[in-house]
């Protein structure tokens, strides 16, 4: 077994996913500490080759590049088959995968293929002696669990979005790009994608620097309108609590919380969200939290850095107008 680190680089329709570069940055720091190489695995449809140089600029020494239409649209079977083969050939010590909804499926599936351990959703990964120790939140983020993969290799970790810093890209970095071929042909793949309807509403929650989110307090689907306006002024993504999603006011892809997405933006503006523990689990690590709620006892105020007790239908438009005046 070598000291190398593999990083699976996620992209969708040619757009790289930021957490993959965060993972390359983490891999680079670990590899520098123990003297190994960083290999980025970039498997997708024809036309993704330019991302190989990008992966190198973020810290990869080598890129395994597969361009084939069977690898489009992220399907688990062809991705896991190719990644497992690449790992078997190179025998790296560690595989890092961004903990997106795709990565959280690929990591455990790869662990079965290679009969090893996968630690999901790590928020920290530290070298203690010779051993990597991962920290991950459990029980809706109320407990932090430290765990490791003591013996089997490779150790697989999925890294939580925005938990690790994204390095500054260095476009002068040079690396090697190695072409690889898919393992499965179309005939070997059971799952066929027949349609994809991209969520409307602009900015994706996972990568958003600012999120405006609504809960039960918005009162109905039309109650999201002032939140959308605020989001537009801020270039923010629109989030929601489970209560609002369950009520059918807004689609599931906007849900933040334990059964939705985990986000970590610079600014999270919670409007009419009481702040159940399950919601907190999905947004607690936001850098700054602003809560707007008419109930002064709402638990969200315990978490918020700034609390505004008031009617969101007055406060949110006022905030939008003030920001529009200030930011233009």
């Amino acid at each position: 077994m070598g000291n190398d680190i593999f990083v699976w680089v996620e992209q969708f329709r040619g757009q790289p996913v930021s957490v993959s570069y965060e993972a390359i940055g983490l891999a680079r720091r670990l590899a520098d500490a123990w003297g190994g190489r960083v290999t980025a695995c970039l498997f997708g449809e024809e036309g993704i080759a330019p991302l190989a140089q990008e992966a190198i600029s973020y810290g990869a020494d080598r890129v395994l590049l597969a361009e084939d239409d069977t690898l489009a649209d992220f399907r688990l079977e062809p991705q896991v088959a190719l990644l497992a083969q690449a790992v078997r050939e190179a025998d790296p010590a560690v595989v890092l995968i961004g903990a997106t909804f795709r990565g959280r499926e690929l990591g455990p599936a790869l662990a079965v293929e290679l009969d090893t351990g996968c630690v999901a959703d790590c928020t920290a990964l530290d070298l203690e002696g010779e051993q990597l120790v991962a920290t991950r939140p459990i029980y809706a983020g109320k407990l932090m669990c430290k765990c490791l993969v003591p013996e089997r290799r490779p150790q697989i970790f999925t890294t939580r979005v925005r938990a690790f810093p994204k390095p500054e890209p260095d476009t002068t970095r040079r690396g090697e790009v190695v072409r690889v071929q898919p393992v499965l042909g179309e005939g070997d793949i059971a799952v066929k994608v027949t349609d994809f309807l991209e969520a409307i509403g602009g900015v994706s929650l996972a990568d958003a620097a600012v999120i405006v989110a609504g809960g039960r307090g918005v009162g109905g689907p039309e109650g999201f309108a002032p939140l959308r306006e605020l989001a537009q002024v801020l270039g923010a993504a629109l989030g929601a609590s489970r209560a609002a999603v369950d009520a059918g006011w807004i689609p599931y892809e906007h849900q933040v919380g334990q059964t939705g997405k985990t986000v970590s933006p610079d600014l999270y503006i919670a409007c009419g969200i009481s702040g159940a523990i399950q919601h907190q689990a999905g947004m607690r690590t936001s850098k700054v939290i602003v809560a707007i709620n008419k109930d002064p006892e709402a638990p969200i105020f315990k978490l918020a850095h700034y609390g505004i007790v008031g009617d969101l239908f007055k406060v949110v438009p006022a905030l939008t107008a003030a920001l529009r005046a200030r930011l233009g």
Partner: protein, 296 residues
């Protein structure tokens, strides 16, 4: 055509009620001190399976792995319409991580026999790993559809499913058998039926017989109770590691490549929170502070 459905469910501690007292001195979680509930997404998985059965015919088998008291979620599944239940329990399973858990579930599913569809909730609220579903599918060597929200079509050995992905909705087709992990927005789980509660309230695993005999001393012996329950299809079978032909070094702690070092309770202290009045001045001062702190 009728579909043989297997639903994997888990009894989980209610994370809404966890506190520092739920921690044991050695830093592990004292599950026994927490209220135990049916994992929420698993109820959606069960509902999806019940709807397949209602629309196409077939049967729904519910399987759980856990301590003896996990029989509670199996009875709940019977109240909601499951045809039969199996409890997978054994001290040898203790300490299992997701890999060892999926191995045991794979062996149990194979012992159930042939199946068309395996359903599970997208994730459990205690571990939050969302790993067991994908790993069971890999172990079984069958394709999987995660984030399943709606079954659009089911015919000719093929299923069409709409997935609720964080970035949109994707429609996929897949051959059977396959495994689905079901999201919370998929459906509204039916409540337990009063009629079925009357029928199944006696349903029990043999591990519960000693307790039942105290309640119904008229049965006198476990054998008599067992005969009575078996004749009425109220006996919930219990499978051990041996029953599913599991290799010892692949289950429990021995079969787990990951190890927990320690668990810390996150003290949710109140942040230094600043109250902003809901006035134009208050809002301007908030914006000014956010700009000064480079947040905006």
């Amino acid at each position: 055509m009728a579909y043989r459905c297997i639903v994997l469910v888990k009894q989980v501690p209610d994370t809404a009620n966890i506190s520092g007292q739920a921690m044991k001195e050695d830093g592990t979680v004292n599950r026994a001190a927490l209220p135990a509930i049916f994992n929420p997404d698993d109820l959606n998985a069960l509902e999806m399976a019940l709807q397949v059965k209602e629309q196409h015919g077939g049967e729904v088998t519910v399987l759980t792995m856990g301590p003896p008291r996990a029989a509670e979620v199996l009875r709940d599944a019977l109240y909601r319409g499951a045809d039969r239940c199996i409890l997978l329990t054994d001290r040898k399973f203790a300490g299992a991580d997701t890999l060892a858990t999926s191995y045991a579930l794979q062996r149990a599913i194979e012992r159930v026999g042939s199946y068309d569809l395996v359903f599970c909730g997208r994730q459990a609220i205690d571990g939050d790993t969302a790993q067991v579903g994908p790993q069971v599918a890999e172990k079984l060597g069958i394709p999987q559809i995660t984030y399943a929200e709606t079954i659009l079509a089911l015919r000719d050995g093929e299923i069409t499913v709409r997935r609720a992905l964080p970035n949109g909705r994707e429609t996929v087709k897949c051959t059977l058998p396959c495994l689905l992990t079901v999201v919370g927005s998929a459906n509204r789980p039916r409540p337990p039926s009063a009629r079925k509660m009357i029928v199944y309230k006696l349903a029990a695993t043999p591990l519960e017989y000693p307790e039942l005999l105290q309640k119904w001393p008229e049965f006198e012996t476990e054998e008599a109770l067992d005969r009575y329950l078996s004749e009425r299809d109220l006996r919930i079978p219990v499978w051990s590691a041996e029953d599913i032909g599991a290799t010892e070094d692949k289950v429990g702690l021995a079969g787990s490549p990951t190890r927990v070092l320690k668990i810390d309770y996150v003290v949710l202290e109140s942040r230094e929170s600043k109250e902003i009045p809901p006035t134009p001045e208050g809002i301007s001062s908030l914006i000014r502070e956010l700009v000064q702190d480079y947040i905006l």
